[in-house]
């Protein structure tokens, strides 16, 4: 009950000059997440599309992505802190490294797994490479690409709490401060906010997916459902492991 009290206190939302409230932390958290995702998309989308389209270097990239996935984010953050010092750059790099693999895997496998007879028909009709990619492969890969975005988003939202470790803001502050001050309502309230944010963001992306993906592919989009659930569970698990 007490952490619900913490969550619904308008004082906690507004905060004060020296002690920012939930509203500001939420905006900071969203800011880190958006920036991370933007950078990761700029890296992973063209790379994944190119590899999927040409079929070249696929194994290597999947290997590297999997290796990156295995890196412990907190350890990476400490390493980056030693390398680049305090500030946004360290956590940003760590988060981007976290977000790239699912985006890359989604884009690559989405493009590579488009039915070969459809790609063949596209070429047979006289589409050139870029036309095949943009008019046929990417639209057909969209369900898997958005699946990758959803899983990256979940991981980034839950892991962006690490920004607090290097003195930055975001919802991680409540978890970290709550822990050090033995203020459990604050700590649990902060965790709940992170989880809620992740759920809302995922629902929004789900809606976006229904808007963006061609109705002719919606059945395949629905098949991505179980995979997404698995990712949510995975995301929550890693979140707990990291917060502990």
């Amino acid at each position: 009950m007490t952490y619900l009290g913490w969550l619904f206190s308008s004082e906690n939302w507004a905060g004060s000059a020296e002690n920012p409230g939930i509203a500001q932390r939420l905006v900071e958290h969203l800011g880190y997440t958006a920036l991370t995702l933007l950078i990761a998309l700029v890296i992973a989308l063209p790379l994944g599309a190119w590899i999927g389209h040409t079929g070249r270097g696929g194994l290597m990239v999947v290997g590297i992505a999997n290796a990156l996935r295995a890196l412990p984010t907190l350890g990476l953050l400490v390493l980056l802190f030693l390398a680049v010092g305090l500030g946004l750059l360290g956590p940003l790099i760590a988060l981007v490294i976290l977000a790239v693999p699912p985006l890359l895997a989604g884009t690559y496998s989405g493009v590579a797994n488009v039915d070969p007879s459809i790609v063949d028909a596209a070429k047979g009709m006289g589409m050139r490479g870029p036309e095949v990619l943009f008019k046929v492969e990417l639209p057909n890969a969209l369900p898997l690409i958005i699946g990758g975005v959803r899983s990256a988003l979940l991981q980034v939202i839950s892991t962006a709490t690490i920004a607090a470790y290097v003195g930055l803001g975001g919802l991680g502050r409540f978890i970290l401060d709550g822990l050090s001050q033995r203020d459990f309502p604050q700590m649990i309230g902060g965790s709940i906010l992170v989880a809620l944010l992740a759920i809302v963001a995922d629902l929004l992306l789900g809606g976006l997916q229904r808007l963006l993906v061609s109705p002719g592919l919606q059945q395949r989009g629905a098949q991505a459902g179980p995979g997404r659930l698995r990712l949510i569970r995975g995301g929550a698990g890693t979140d707990r492991a990291r917060a502990a």
Partner: protein
């Protein structure tokens, strides 16, 4: 016109799929490639639009070497229909059909209005325009595939087993429609199938391939049936080829004989088979004359269904023979262009006319 001159395709793994192919697919005609699985039909047809490049030899489409220009430009000028249609699942039917016109820069609006026209041409209800391929039956998808290949009005059409995935009834339907379309459009069509009956029905000329990618025989279908060059073609053309060959012989010389007829409501004839006619002199069936215990007039319940009808002036010997054989009386009913009874024919007449028809047949 499509010319193969000594065209060979050897794949990197050493497989020779097509060996020294010499063949001309004539302008405005349907040329069918037929043969057992793996004999190089698909490879041959895909070399025409350069989806596969020949290893050696020369391949020209309307005089132009396929290897000369840009492959994408070549393909935009050649319609291509593949098995299972290969439609784009993310695009509506109308946008699928408009693909090539849009690629050619004609604009989406123009492409779509052209697509709507084509839907009608291939017999698709325009209300399907906004549907997606997964909402169509296999036969409908194939029609969309044909419409899509025709959209930019290419002079050449390549069709690789386009009807093999649909059931026999739909298939026959699609074949008939293709023949109707072709009589209007006059495209140069190369059609691949492994079904000899389909080949014989559709082809102006049929190329029979044997495994190893060599041409066994290239002839008009009637010649293929009457004079296969060797045992392989003979076996491949299959059973009943003598009978099926009658389908390519003109029946103009068959004499049309008398036909005893009777109308509905007339008294039942004393004896023998009579054709029952309606008021317009169209045949309804047959009645076997003789004493009836109850009524003395012909009622609909007495009519025995007739066999196939023989159209005077447009039929083949095969049609004539079938009309005679399928009739309960042993005499086939001959009808004129309006479907009115013109007389009768017998199986003996057909056989008597056979030597004469053979002599007059340019193919034989």
């Amino acid at each position: 016109m499509i010319e193969f001159r000594g065209v060979t395709k050897r794949f990197p793994d050493g497989t020779v799929a097509v060996h020294e192919l010499d063949l001309v697919a004539e302008q405005g005609r349907i040329t069918v490639f037929v043969g057992p699985s793996g004999c190089g039909k698909t490879t041959s047809v895909r070399m025409i639009n350069r989806m596969i490049e020949p290893t050696s030899g020369e391949l020209r489409v309307d005089g132009r070497d396929v290897l000369a220009g840009d492959p994408a430009d070549l393909r935009r000028g050649i319609g291509y229909v593949i098995q299972q249609a290969g439609l784009f699942p993310h695009r509506t039917i109308v946008d699928n059909i408009a693909t090539v016109p849009v690629l050619l820069g004609r604009g989406r609006r123009e492409g779509r209005s052209r697509a709507m026209e084509l839907m009608e041409t291939v017999g698709l209800d325009p209300s399907m325009a906004r549907r997606y391929p997964n909402q169509l039956s296999g036969g409908q998808q194939q029609r969309v595939g044909v419409a899509r290949a025709l959209a930019a009005d290419p002079p050449v059409l390549l069709m690789d087993e386009p009807f093999s995935a649909v059931d026999p009834v739909v298939r026959e339907n699609l074949q008939d429609e293709l023949l109707r379309l072709q009589s209007e459009l006059g495209k140069t069509i190369v059609f691949v199938t492994h079904d000899i009956d389909e080949a014989i029905k559709l082809g102006d000329k049929v190329a029979v391939f044997r495994v190893g990618g060599t041409l066994a025989q290239y002839d008009e279908p009637g010649v293929l049936l009457s004079r296969p060059v060797d045992e392989f073609v003979d076996t491949f053309v299959g059973r009943d080829r003598g009978y099926r060959g009658l389908g390519f012989l003109s029946s103009d010389t068959i004499p049309i004989g008398e036909l005893p007829t009777v109308g509905l409501g007339d008294p039942v004839p004393e004896q023998g088979w009579h054709a029952v006619l309606d008021g317009e002199r169209r045949p309804l069936g047959w009645i076997d004359g003789g004493h009836r215990p109850g009524g003395a007039t012909v009622s609909e319940g007495d009519v025995v269904p007739g066999g196939s009808l023989y159209p005077v002036g447009s039929g083949s010997l095969r049609g004539a023979l079938d009309a005679a054989l399928s009739s309960p009386s042993g005499r086939g009913v001959a009808v004129d262009a309006d479907g009115r009874v013109a007389g009768s024919i017998s199986a003996d007449d057909v056989l008597t006319a056979l030597p004469d028809a053979r002599r007059h047949d340019p193919a034989a």
